[in-house]
């Protein structure tokens, strides 16, 4: 599987907040924002130290930022009327105010970076720990892409909002309050007039954002569809080629791409108009201040310096409003993501409880009247009873859907049974902790899962540090030594994207080697050699016979040759046992196994 498709593009950018920022991005709403917010805040509570420092620097910064224009106004007044006092002293004050402001924003940047990274690291860590401990049923029943996107995109959204927006939201609100206070102290009437244009700004922004969002949402949908097409077609490129579908797929892609371009242009144009429109409005505000300021100045109510200060304040005033409007959307999106994250965090962990396993492990497995269904009403396993004596080799055969793999899922405690009992050495597996239980069982699954790591680490996955001799021995027994010898760096070759460059058969050999190295008391092979040729397979079987001497092994296979020498063969159909016995016994019975065997032997249906 390609990992890059999950690569989030949400990385910090030099562009902290552009003129239109994320305003147009589709906003997703959380169902219960308050609750999510409360839980997110809980994550910050543990970082109280940083939050307090951040708050303190924001307050200092805002004070300095609001005071500075006052000094500037003073300075301009003094230029005009030198009798008001020394220009230099005011300028020094102004410089100091701006320096404090600058330094405080610097510290804010540092602190919020630290804060956000700590919070996100913890959030992501918690989420991962949760996912690893979720019951298999959760992973089986949810789209992997969706789980991935919660771990990456949603966590990243929260990280971004924290690192870039938390302090600006805080300082925005404070600046707004401070600015209004300052303006009021100069001239309440002029303040009122300035506010009127602000209201205009808010109305226009809200209207445009609403209109814009429609197109951005549409663009996002189309983009998702386009990316989906690319991914599917590139992944399935072999089929596309084999069936001469190239031209047709390119045409389909072009249609979506053209539609995306059309929508994208409209969305961007509306989004891009935001800046000029805002600019226009801020100029209207300026003219209002200038005209009425002039009138008040003429009547002697205010000084020229005050007008200059007002011009600055009016600008300072609209900035946080714009910012808060933009942040609102981002915060909504982050909260929606937060809610999805908490949804997973609230899922129940897999039940791992239980005591110790009975030692030494004899490997006696007993199913007693087990019933099970994945979905209520669709029973998969019916009144299943089976006793496997320790140290035996048992085979499960039966057509697809007869419940063989399900039996393994139940034995591993991947799924809980509905009723009945499963015992290991006489003790219910539900009284044995999953760690103990699974430690005792080595399993090779139908789907070969390898990790992006060296061959050696993949083989030693469960066994940890292993002596080179033991590693070599396991590789020889599982017949993957040849495969490894042909790899460029032998055991140290890194398997990229889960060993995609190996053939299915080669991957199966490696997973068998991995199971051998874990030295299990019970070994389960679920269609583990389906892509391995039969001669190699029989070699593996011989090695396994040696390895599993006096240990229990459970084998599922379509190829009857794989299981002929099993001590007992269990034939399953529709979740129940229909026959059991040794190969010879079953052939003599001339029952279902005999029929299966004859098809294999004869090769053709009769």
């Amino acid at each position: 599987m390609s990992q890059s498709k999950y690569a989030s593009s949400a990385q910090p950018s030099l562009e902290r907040r552009g003129p239109i920022g994320n305003m147009g991005a589709p906003v997703q709403k959380a169902k219960d924002s308050k609750k999510t917010l409360r839980r997110l805040i809980a994550y910050f509570r543990r970082e109280a130290k940083f939050v307090i420092i951040l708050a303190a620097t924001v307050v200092i910064g805002v004070l300095a930022g609001v005071l500075a224009p006052r000094f500037q106004a003073d300075a301009i007044n003094r230029i005009q009327k030198p009798e008001l006092g020394s220009l230099t002293s005011v300028l020094i004050m102004m410089l100091v105010a701006y320096l404090i402001y600058g330094v405080s924003t610097l510290i804010q940047g540092f602190v919020s970076a630290r804060l956000s990274q700590r919070v996100v690291r913890r959030l992501r860590g918690d989420l991962f720990a949760k996912i690893v401990n979720l019951p298999i049923s959760y992973i089986d029943s949810h789209s992997h892409g969706d789980i991935m996107s919660r771990m990456t995109n949603d966590a990243e959204n929260i990280s971004n909002i924290v690192s870039s927006s938390l302090s600006s939201l805080f300082s925005g609100v404070l600046t707004l309050a401070g600015t209004i206070a300052m303006m009021l102290s100069y001239s309440p009437l002029l303040t009122l007039l300035s506010c009127s244009t602000v209201i205009l700004t808010v109305v226009v922004t809200t209207f445009m954002t609403k209109y814009m969002r429609k197109y951005f949402v549409r663009r996002q949908t189309l983009l998702g569809r386009l990316n989906g097409t690319v991914e599917e077609m590139v992944t399935n490129t072999k089929t596309v080629t084999a069936y001469n579908r190239q031209q047709r797929e390119v045409e389909g892609f072009s249609r979506t791409a053209d539609e995306l371009t059309k929508t994208g242009i409209i969305a961007e144009i509306i989004g891009g108009s935001m800046g000029p429109v805002m600019n226009m409005l801020s100029n209207v505000a300026f003219v209002v201040v200038a005209v009425f300021g002039a009138r008040f100045a003429l009547s002697g109510d205010i000084s020229i310096g005050v007008i200059s200060a007002f011009i600055i304040y009016a600008k300072q005033f609209s900035r946080p409003i714009n910012e808060i409007a933009q942040l609102y959307g981002q915060i909504q999106t982050a909260l929606a993501g937060g809610e999805r994250i908490f949804d997973i965090l609230d899922e129940k962990d897999e039940d791992k409880s239980g005591g110790e396993i009975v030692r030494p492990i004899k490997g006696v497995i007993e199913f007693k009247h087990v019933n099970f269904s994945y979905v209520p009403g669709k029973q998969i396993i019916r009144d299943f009873s089976l006793k496997i004596s320790g140290g035996k080799k048992i085979a499960l055969v039966g057509s697809t859907g007869s419940g063989k793999t399900t039996i393994i899922n139940l034995l591993m405690r991947f799924y809980p049974i509905d009723s009945g009992e499963i015992l290991l050495d006489g003790k219910s597996i539900y009284d044995i902790s999953t760690d103990e239980l699974r430690d005792a069982i080595g399993i090779v699954l139908q789907d070969t899962v390898l990790f992006t790591d060296t061959v050696k680490n993949n083989l030693c996955y469960a066994s940890g540090d292993t002596a080179p001799e033991a590693l070599q021995a396991a590789a020889v027994s599982s017949r993957c030594d040849d495969v490894i010898a042909n790899l460029p760096n032998g055991y140290d070759t890194v398997l990229e994207s889960g060993g995609a460059s190996l053939s299915q058969g080669q991957r199966q050999l490696l997973t068998i080697g991995r199971a051998f190295l874990s030295e299990p008391s019970i070994l389960i092979l679920d269609e583990a050699t389906s892509s391995v040729d039969t001669r190699t397979e029989s070699d593996i079987q011989d090695a396994m016979a040696e390895l599993m001497k006096k240990r229990t092994s459970l084998i599922i296979a379509h190829r009857l040759s794989t299981i002929q020498d099993a001590d007992e063969i269990i034939v399953m159909d529709q979740g129940a046992i229909v026959e059991s016995g040794s190969h010879e016994e079953l052939l003599k019975k001339q029952g279902r196994y005999y029929k299966l065997y004859m098809t294999q032997f004869a090769g053709q249906a009769t």
Partner: protein, 572 residues
């Protein structure tokens, strides 16, 4: 890549022209404000404030219109360019050979077509809009500022280099950091992906704790890098603000003396402050432009690699004949995978007659799959040739060649549409009867009808909702519906149980007798009825003949046979 932008360059240039207009008006504004302050407010001329004020709003509206128009043009240019690029990229990829797809890897091809194209598109937009804006602000702003008072030039001269140096440092340092960040992010995502996909293995081997540790390590590395980036970027704005404000203080100081000396008016001083902040802000924009360019150029290179890769398998183009029987002949064929030394196939010579069933059997890695992939030219032979109906496959038109071969891959690839659509990939517009006939022969009909919506049941992503055997049977239906002469089954019945497989081959024999069938399989039972069986071992044919012949003469075949059947036959 230039050829793609050429078409839309004119509209892009128009966009930059509008941008020049917008910036000029932006720069005109402070002057008008100065006029309002100096001649209106200070002189108590309220009507001038009104008239200039209204004029200013009008001018600003014009500037805004210019800005919007520039946005319109630039968007049309950049997005159409990006669209063309994306389509070209996708088209190229669709025509890649297997080898090229493998070389690039699927994941990287997806990123190249999606996010890399977007990056380049952003770069174009940013260059036209931001670049022009930045340059204009700097050049025109400086000249306006200097035209008011040369002394202000000194302030600019002292501050501008500081900002430029700051930008240079940040851009230089952030480049490698961003790369590292992307790698760390990929790493974290890959750990998550592996754990989600492989959770059974993690649990089965009780590795939850060690996986959490592994993740913690990648997570810590990612957070660490992210932190470094954020810290680096944190310097940007505060320093810029401090420098800008020091410059403002200096301008007021100088301006104050000039006003006192009656060389200048208050309003002009205020305009000067505005110009200064516009110039320095414009420079600040440079930082963003640099960043977009760095990313855009890197992405551009990756796209160019795709576009520059000419299809490795070139179209023969000579022979364009449809049905002619379907004999397949390998003549002294050798093959080595590109970049490998190990010879996968060595001097293979076989002839398969029309309508024959030809089976290939052999150990894992013996080259079976490689051999059949040479027929539809998924790969080309290194030595020797493959002939269909007596003609070298390389001389056929590719499309014609592949339309004659129905190839079922080892790994069934399903598309996320309905089951019916998945089968119809084999033959667009085939009738309902044809579809059902193919599905029935592939032994797929029974389970398809059990699906909630039968043939019209949607297939979930990659066929997650279907079992391996079901996927294989849909893939086989798809091959059977195709009007081909040669059917290749590349170990594509491995997940079928014996009974189903036997019924499939029976149906193939009855309904598709004319097809030349080439079958790779592991089970003797699958191959024993073939007209001819080839035994492959380490890239060489070690046996060729019918089941009986091979059983009598061929050691390897007998070993395979024994490993599968002998024990049973003794006791039976």
């Amino acid at each position: 890549m230039l050829k793609y932008i050429k078409k839309y360059l004119w509209i892009g240039l128009l966009g930059s022209l509008f941008m020049v207009g917008e910036v000029l008006i932006d720069l005109l504004q402070p002057r008008m404000m100065a006029n309002i302050v100096d001649n209106g407010i200070l002189k108590g001329n309220e009507s001038l404030v009104w008239s200039v004020g209204l004029r200013m709003i009008g001018v600003v509206a014009l500037g805004g219109t210019c800005g919007i128009m520039s946005g319109v043009c630039v968007n049309i240019c950049a997005q159409h360019f990006g669209n063309d690029l994306r389509k070209a990229c996708f088209g190229r990829i669709m025509n890649f050979s297997f080898e090229q797809t493998d070389d690039f890897t699927v994941g990287s091809l997806i990123t190249r077509t999606t996010s890399d194209v977007t990056q380049v598109q952003n770069m174009v937009a940013q260059l036209i809009r931001g670049g022009v804006r930045c340059l204009m602000f700097f050049v025109a702003g400086s000249s306006f500022l200097l035209s008011m008072n040369v002394a202000f030039g000194r302030v600019l001269l002292c501050t501008a280099p500081i900002i430029l140096i700051e930008i240079a440092i940040v851009v230089k340092r952030s480049g490698p950091l961003f790369l590292l960040l992307q790698r760390r992010l990929d790493r974290v995502n890959s750990v998550i992906g592996e754990n989600v996909a492989g959770e059974r293995v993690v649990k089965a081997f009780v590795q939850e704790k060690s996986e959490i540790n592994r993740f913690e390590k990648s997570n810590a590395e990612l957070v660490d890098t992210q932190f470094k980036v954020l810290i680096l970027l944190s310097w940007m704005r505060p320093i810029m603000n401090i420098v800008l404000n020091i410059a403002t203080v200096a301008v007021i100081y100088i301006g104050g003396r000039e006003v006192a000396a009656r060389n200048m008016e208050i309003g002009e001083l205020m305009a000067a402050i505005t110009y200064l902040s516009q110039i320095l802000n414009g420079m600040m924009m440079l930082a963003m432009i640099f960043q977009t360019i760095t990313r855009g150029v890197a992405s551009g290179k990756r796209i160019k690699e795709v576009l520059a890769s000419t299809p490795a398998i070139s179209d023969g183009g000579m022979i364009d004949v449809p049905l002619r029987g379907g004999s397949v002949e390998f003549k002294d064929v050798s093959f080595v995978y590109p970049g490998h030394r190990h010879e996968v196939l060595k001097n293979i010579s076989i002839k398969v007659n029309p309508g024959e069933t030809f089976a290939i059997i052999g150990a894992t890695g013996s080259g079976k799959s490689t051999l059949v992939k040479l027929i539809p030219r998924f790969y080309d032979t290194v030595k020797g040739s493959v002939l269909i109906d007596g003609e070298d496959v390389k001389s056929y038109r590719l499309e014609t060649l592949r339309s004659r071969i129905a190839f079922v891959l080892q790994k069934s690839e399903l598309f996320s549409t309905t089951i019916r659509q998945n089968i119809l990939i084999g033959k667009e517009g085939a009738s309902k009867t044809e579809t059902e006939k193919a599905a029935r022969a592939a032994q797929a009909e029974e389970f398809i009808l059990e699906q909630p919506q039968g043939y019209d049941t949607p297939v979930a992503e990659g066929g997650m909702s279907l079992s391996g055997g079901q996927k294989q049977r849909i893939a086989i239906s798809r091959a059977l519906i195709k009007d081909a002469e040669i059917l290749v089954l590349d170990d594509s019945t491995s997940a079928l149980d014996l009974g189903t497989e036997a019924r499939l081959f029976k149906a193939l024999g009855e309904g598709y007798g004319k097809l030349t069938k080439i079958i790779i399989a592991q089970r003797i039972a699958t191959v024993m009825r073939a007209d001819k069986i080839a035994v492959l071992d380490r890239g060489e044919i070690v046996g060729l003949g019918t089941h009986e012949e091979l059983l009598n003469t061929n050691e390897v075949y007998r070993e395979i046979y024994n490993s599968q059947l002998k024990k049973g036959s003794e006791s039976a």
